[in-house]
Amino acid sequence: MALLSMQNISKTFPGVKALDRVNLDVQKGEIHAVVGENGAGKSTLMKVLSGVYPHGQYDGEIVFEGEPARFSGISDSEKQGIIIIHQELALVPQLSIAENIFLGNECARKGVIDWRKTNQRTEELLAKVGLSEPPTTKVDSIGVGKQQLVEIAKALSKDVKLLILDEPTAALQENDSRKLLDLMLELKAQGVTSIIISHKLNEVRYVADSVTVIRDGMTVSKLDAKAGLSEDEIVRDMVGRDMTHRFPEHSRTPGDVLMEVADWSVWHPEHSERRVIKNASFNVRAGEVVGIAGLMGSGRTELAMSIFGRSYGRNITGSVKLKGQPIDVSTVDRAISAGISYVTEDRKALGLVLDETIRFNTTLANLDGVSSGPILKRNEETRVAERYREALAIRTPSVFQKTVNLSGGNQQKVVLAKWLFTAPEVLILDEPTRGIDVGAKYEIYTIINDLAAQGKGVVMISSEMPELLGMCDRIYVMNEGALVGELAAGDASQERIMSLIVNE
């Protein structure tokens, strides 16, 4: 029996048809995956379902539990048992787990909270999701993975009939992701129906009973996963073309050592007794792509940011050489003029001025390149932005589009454009393909290959091991702030990388 049936849902924004007669049928007790590229319309569909776009703002019919459903808002859909957990977590970091779980739904009598009952019920809920933290623990003191579980516990507290998870593992490590997916399977066994939105096809294969693929606002296919799915099949439906090769071909012959970091140590900015990076030494050659593998929290981002103008940490010691010469990387602008660029893992918070245009962002790190003295040459700026739009295939009607309106993949390209315009010798790319779809990933990989072919050194930090294995000439493995191993591309495998991490 279908728990949910969304029929011929259409939703139009000014100038854009975001959803075009989309159908989605979710059977009771199943895990249903909705996949599609960024911008395909998955989130819009979920916003229609959860009442963010109330009845009347879309066309089509929603049938929930056999009854036509017309939600007037998100609280309305929650009352019916449809609960959505967004990609960006909606927890209040300063409050405790218990306070968060019962936020807006407090166990209270006449406005006075019954803490004993609150904590007791929280414990029960936490046990269900496999957490053993005391209910009074502050949310900001537990990791993202556990926060995700708290969100689910919160959903369970509300008598959930349909649980929607929007990219639940986007920010999670491999093992946390696995835990979460196992929890989904467990909830399924208890009768909870879920919808999962994900980019990660191996996860979809792992949990989903059926899959709906959406492309350009339309339902492309419905696949039954019980019979077994091939990733290629899904990818083909998602992008509308065959993707036999997930990584572009490359053949590289790295040259001399370009950048050499030696004995790099960094202490924590607040806890001055904690050493975050421990005597790290590594190098990258001209025309080489070097990977840094490691779990989240292993210090990869901290290593990169501390090299890039001491943007992280304190009491930094060690040396950085470029082409054999020591260089000054003590501030960001010195690092940039020395020839180093750092492409952040968090493009929205650290990479872009979202409310500004593509042009504004493209030239931001090298304004001197588009000005004479202190005066900006705005025509030159436009030319530069246009040049990168073409070179990186940034899909936008114009470079005067605000970057907030771009999809994740295109935003990432704008960040790359910004750093390419500083003409770096060495690019440090931190999770360059996080949260972007398969097609855009392929394009980013192509850009990386082009950079290496031009003789740049590329350092690539990634949590996705297949990506490192598919792209890098060498891979360093990082664990707990130290580089614990180095593997040539030919010798590397997921197992070898993991064993280096685990055996440390």
Binding site: K17, G39, A40, D355, L364, L406
Partner: protein, 413 residues
């Protein structure tokens, strides 16, 4: 994934209807039309008093110090901060000038230089804590507001000090002498049937109008060359005709009275300089980046601390300049000078479209916002509306402007 991603799924249709164009640029036109509507309203209800030459002159003089400070405040607000101390600093500098000139017989010119420098130091001192110690600007400048209010009281010993010598007064109350031969003025006076015409003022008005149209046309030609979506021709013509006509009209009125006030020249030049800095220099660009996303700006090699520091230093200098103009205009320094004025300045900037969270706002918007407030003040005073109602109406106008902004943003969202 967010809504924004979906919006990009299919390319946005580029050719928009006029209606859609208006709704996506409502803010810019809204402010201009609000100013026109308010002026038209008061012109009618005051039986033409509002736009009389003497009143236009007054309007400019009365609002000069607000506008001068709004220029600096716009930059501070765009950088993501706020400065609550400007009213007190303005009063303090006025007091300092009075004490130096009146009590200690210092030369007015030396005094002005010293006052501007001290204003800069005050701004720098506050900026230092905000920029390098990351103390919220609200708190630092709230402290500054109290400190400098106290310092003015102390300096003036609770008394009013004045009057100033003529050469100091003229910075606020003087007029630029007509440089053109008297014959032309007389001929024009006959033509218009007026008593006298200040040709310089009229010529400046025509030149300014021509400049505005020329810049507009140039911008438009460039936009076309780069395929930027531009405003419909009819809009461009109407908007420029209104602005040009308004400039010429105001200057014509001024020419019938005493000509160009010195303060107008100061204000005009400062406005042009700051508009230029914010729009076409690297420093200006970096300030918008700082306010838009401080972390991203820092990671792009922008010295965010130094920029914040400079924004406050600049604000201090402009507050000092406003203090000199204010003291010269009143011809006396009082302990009450500048009281609560920071609120008018901040209101002007927000009415002009700046965002509380930083990164958004224009110099022209802030100036028009200040004029809008000025016209409200002036019109209501002429009508004899009590200060009680005036305050309420101004408060509601500020609220309406910001609600309008938010509503607009949501609609486009």
């Amino acid at each position: 994934m967010e809504l924004a991603d979906d919006t990009n799924a299919t390319p946005v249709v580029k050719t928009k209807g006029i209606g859609e164009y208006i709704s996506s640029h409502l803010r810019q036109y809204g402010l201009l039309f609000a100013l026109i509507a308010v002026m038209a309203f008061f012109e009618v209800v005051t039986d033409g008093t509002l736009l009389r030459a003497v009143n236009i002159t007054n309007l400019l003089l009365q609002n000069s110090y607000i506008i001068i400070m709004a220029l600096g405040m716009l930059i501070v607000i765009v950088s993501g901060n706020i400065d609550l101390s400007v009213g007190s600093v303005m009063g303090f500098i006025g007091a300092l000038a009075a004490v130096m000139i009146v009590n200690y017989d210092q030369s007015p010119y030396l005094t002005m230089i010293v006052c501007l420098a001290i204003g800069g130091l005050i701004g720098a001192a506050q900026g230092y804590w905000v920029a390098y110690w990351k103390i919220p600007s609200f708190i630092v400048t709230l402290a500054g507001m109290l400190v400098f209010r106290g310092l003015s009281l102390w300096l003036l010993e609770g008394q009013s000090v004045g009057p100033f010598p003529k050469e100091f007064q003229i910075i606020a109350t003087g007029f630029v002498p007509d440089l053109f031969p008297a014959g032309i003025g007389a001929a024009l006076a006959d033509l218009f049937g007026a008593r006298k015409v200040n040709v310089l003022a009229l010529a400046t008005g025509i030149a300014a109008a021509a400049l505005v149209v020329w810049i507009g046309l140039r911008q438009r030609a460039q936009n076309k060359a780069y395929g930027i979506e531009d405003e419909p021709t009819s809009f461009f013509v109407v908007r420029n005709v209104i602005i040009a006509a308004a400039l010429i009209f105001v200057m014509f009125k001024l020419s019938l009275f005493r000509g160009l006030p010195n303060v107008l020249i100061t204000m005009g030049i400062l406005t042009i300089i700051y508009a230029f800095i914010t729009e076409t220099t690297t420093v200006g660009r970096r300030i918008y980046a700082l306010g838009g996303n401080q972390k991203a700006a820092k990671l792009s090699g922008i010295k965010t601390e130094r920029l914040t520091f400079l924004a406050f230093t600049n604000m201090g200098v402009l507050a000092a300049a406003a203090g000199l103009v204010f003291a010269a205009r009143l011809n006396t320094a009082t302990p009450k000078a500048g009281f609560a004025l920071e609120l008018d300045v901040i209101a002007a900037v927000f009415i002009g479209g700046a965002s509380m969270s930083g990164g958004v706002g224009t110099i022209i918007g802030a100036v028009v916002g200040a004029f809008l407030m000025g016209v409200l003040n002036n019109g209501m005073s002429i009508m004899g509306i009590g200060i009680d109602y005036q305050q309420m109406i101004k408060g509601l106008v500020l609220l309406a402007a910001v609600i309008f902004d938010v509503y607009n943003k949501n609609k486009q969202g």
